[in-house]
C-alpha cells in the first residue's frame, strides 16, 4: 500500500529527504512542528542529523554551518521564528550558502494566533532581511505539491547558491490529503557545483564563468574565509567599489537570468478571458473552486496559480494583463502580492479579496468578485 493520508508538513519532511537533506536544526513552533517531528524520526535512519536548537536564530546559523560542511540543510518555523531568522537569511544570501527555510504561516503579527491560517509573510519573505538581496520563495497549494516544491527548493538553493524560502500556510501545512510517495531514485536532485581546482588556486567568490561560483565544502581540504561583510573573490572583507559593485550585480543576475527556470506557475486562461484570478497557496484552492463555479454560470474567467511568488512572475502577469480587464487577487492578508500584480497590471483593474482573520478566503467571496464586474 503506497497511498497514504498525509499532512502538508509531513510531505515537506519527505520532500526534504527525497531531495537529499541530511541536516535539520530547528526550534518547534505551531503550525510547523510536524516538520521537525517527522525529521527527528526519519533523518537518523538515513544517516542525517537532527538537532533542536535553543532558538530560531541559532537554528538557521546551524543550518548554514552544516551546509558549508557539505550537507543539504533545512529548518522550519512560523511567523515569530521567521522574524528571528531574518538576520541569517541575509547572511546566507551574502555568503551564498544553500539552505531551505520553511515558514508555515500563521496569523500575526507577533504571537498572533498559532493555529490560525495566514498568508501575511509574503512581503517579509521578500524583504524581511535588510539590504538588497535576491531571494526565491515557493508556495505549495496541496500536500503532494508540498513534497514537489520542497525538492525544488533544495534544487534551486544548490543550483544558485542561495537561501530558498518555502512558504506554506497553516491550511496546507495541517491539511491531510491522499499522497502517493514517489520513488526517491526517480527524483531529480541537483547538487552544488564542486570546484575542480587545487586548494591553493580556489577562489570561493570569483573567477567563475557562470554567475554561481563553485562551492568547496569545509573539510574537503579547501581553506577559505566566509564573512557577512562584502568580500573579495577570496572571501576576505573589502571596501573596494570595484569588488562590491560586481558582487551585488552578480548575485542578482544569477536569479534574474534564470527566471525561466525559477518562476513556476500554473495557468488556465486565454485572451478572451476578461477576468482572471491570480492566487497562490491555500487561496489558490478557493480560487479554483470559484473559477469552476463561475464557468458553470457561463462566465469566461481564467486563472493563474503562482507556485513561485519570489521572484515575482512579472512576465506572465503582464502578458495576461494586456487582454484581461480585471485581475482578482484573493489572499489571506490585507493585500500583499496584489501590490506586485498592480505593479505590472497596466490598465487592468486589480480587485483584491482579502481576509486576515485566520480563516480561508471563501469561494463565494471570490465568486462575488468575479461576478461584480
Amino acid at each position: 500500500m503506497t497511498v497514504k493520508l498525509m499532512q502538508g508538513n509531513d510531505a515537506v519532511g519527505w520532500g526534504a529527504l527525497a531531495a537529499g537533506c541530511r541536516f535539520y536544526a530547528g526550534y518547534p513552533i505551531t503550525p510547523s512542528t510536524e516538520v521537525a517531528e517527522m525529521l527527528s524520526r526519519e533523518l537518523p535512519k538515513v544517516g542525517g542529523k537532527f538537532i533542536q536548537m535553543e532558538d530560531e536564530i541559532a537554528s538557521l546559523a546551524a543550518c548554514i554551518g552544516a551546509s558549508v560542511g557539505g550537507l543539504k540543510s533545512m529548518t522550519a518555523t512560523s511567523g515569530p521564528g521567521f522574524s528571528l531568522m531574518q538576520e541569517h537569511i541575509g547572511y546566507a544570501a551574502m555568503t551564498e550558502v544553500p539552505c531551505v527555510v520553511v515558514n508555515v504561516q500563521r496569523l500575526g503579527p507577533s504571537t498572533g494566533q498559532p493555529t490560525s491560517a495566514s498568508q501575511g509573510d509574503v512581503m517579509q519573505a521578500r524583504w524581511g532581511t535588510h539590504g538588497d538581496h535576491p531571494i526565491i520563495a515557493l508556495c505549495p497549494t496541496s500536500v503532494s505539491q508540498s513534497f514537489d516544491l520542497t525538492v525544488k527548493a533544495f534544487n534551486f538553493s544548490e543550483k544558485y547558491r542561495t537561501p530558498v524560502i518555502l512558504l506554506l500556510d497553516e491550511v496546507i501545512g495541517h491539511m491531510r490529503e491522499k499522497f502517493d510517495m514517489p520513488d526517491f531514485d526517480a527524483i531529480e536532485r541537483v547538487d552544488r557545483i564542486a570546484t575542480d581546482v587545487p586548494p591553493e588556486w580556489y577562489k570561493p567568490y570569483g573567477d567563475s564563468l557562470s554567475d554561481v561560483p563553485p562551492m568547496a565544502n569545509f573539510g574537503d581540504g579547501y581553506r577559505y574565509h566566509i564573512t557577512g561583510l562584502f568580500h573579495d573573490p577570496h572571501g576576505y572583507p573589502t571596501q573596494r567599489l570595484d569588488e562590491i559593485d560586481p558582487w551585488i550585480k552578480r548575485v542578482h543576475r544569477k536569479i534574474e537570468r534564470n527566471l525561466h527556470d525559477i518562476v513556476l506557475y500554473e495557468e488556465d486562461w486565454d485572451p478572451t478571458n476578461k477576468t482572471v484570478v491570480v492566487s497562490y497557496g491555500a487561496s489558490a484552492r478557493s480560487a479554483r473552486h470559484a473559477v469552476k463555479l463561475a464557468r458553470q454560470h457561463r462566465l469566461k474567467v481564467g486563472e493563474i496559480t503562482l507556485l513561485t511568488i519570489w521572484p515575482f512572475a512579472e512576465e506572465v502577469i503582464a502578458r495576461m494583463a494586456r487582454t484581461a480587464r480585471r485581475i482578482i487577487v484573493p489572499e489571506m492578508n490585507l493585500g500583499q502580492l496584489a501590490l506586485e500584480v498592480e505593479r505590472v497590471a497596466g490598465r487592468s483593474k486589480v480587485v483584491r479579496v482579502n481576509r486576515a482573520n485566520g480563516e480561508m478566503v471563501t469561494p463565494q467571496e471570490i465568486l462575488d468578485a468575479i461576478e461584480g464586474s
Partner: protein
C-alpha cells in the same frame, strides 16, 4: 431518518470539545475514504491551543473528482458532540443535511429532524471507556450515510487502534452501526 449522499462532493463536519477525539475521528474517516475506498479527500481542522477543552472542529471532504476548496462550505453531515458545537455549526448545514447529536451532551437542538443518540453513554456502556465515543460516532455516521463502506471504516479504525485495543474499538464501531440501524428502522 436515512440519508444517502450521492453528490460528488460530500462535506462532513465533526465538532465537539478538545479531547473528545473529533480530529482523530476525521482522520480515520478520511483514511477510510482515501485508502480503502480510493476516493479523493481533504481533511482539515480548527482547534485552540489547549490539549483538552475549548472548541474543536474537524472536517472531511470526500469526492470522486478533484477537490478544490478543502474546507466544508455547507455541511452535508454535522456530528455535534457538545452544545457549543451544535449551536455554532447547525446553521451551516445544507438544506436537508443530516444532524447527529450526542443526546446526552446536546440539550437544545435546533431541528426536529436531528438524529439523537447517546453516543458517549453508549461508548461507556459497551466498552467501559468514554474515550471510544469518537469511534461510536464514526459508526453512527457511516451507518446512517454510507459516505464510506462499513468495511472500509472498520479497516481504518483498526489500522489506527493502538495494539491491544482492537477489540474495544471494533465493539465501539459496531455499537455505532447498531444505533444507526435502529434509527433507520
Amino acid at each position: 431518518m436515512t440519508k444517502t449522499i450521492q453528490n460528488d462532493r460530500t462535506e462532513i463536519r465533526l465538532a465537539g470539545e478538545g479531547g473528545q477525539g473529533m480530529i482523530l475521528a476525521a482522520i480515520i474517516l478520511a483514511e477510510a475514504a482515501a485508502i480503502y475506498d480510493g476516493k479523493n479527500v481533504t481533511q482539515t481542522q480548527v482547534y485552540g491551543p489547549e490539549a483538552r477543552g475549548g472548541a474543536s472542529k474537524a472536517e472531511v471532504v470526500i469526492s470522486n473528482g478533484q477537490i478544490d476548496h478543502p474546507e466544508v462550505i455547507n455541511a452535508d453531515v454535522l456530528v455535534a458532540m457538545s452544545q457549543e458545537a451544535c449551536d455554532k455549526y447547525a446553521g451551516n448545514l445544507k438544506k436537508g443535511g443530516l444532524l447527529i447529536v450526542d443526546e446526552e451532551k446536546v440539550g437544545r437542538i435546533p431541528s426536529n429532524k436531528a438524529v439523537k443518540i447517546p453516543i458517549t453513554q453508549l461508548a461507556e456502556a459497551r466498552t467501559g471507556r468514554t474515550i471510544t465515543a469518537n469511534v461510536v460516532a464514526l459508526g453512527v455516521l457511516v451507518g446512517l450515510t454510507d459516505v464510506v463502506s462499513r468495511m472500509s471504516i472498520e479497516k481504518a479504525v483498526l489500522a489506527r487502534a493502538p495494539k491491544g485495543t482492537e477489540d474495544m474499538n471494533r465493539t465501539a464501531l459496531l455499537a455505532g452501526f447498531e444505533a444507526a440501524d435502529m434509527v433507520k428502522r
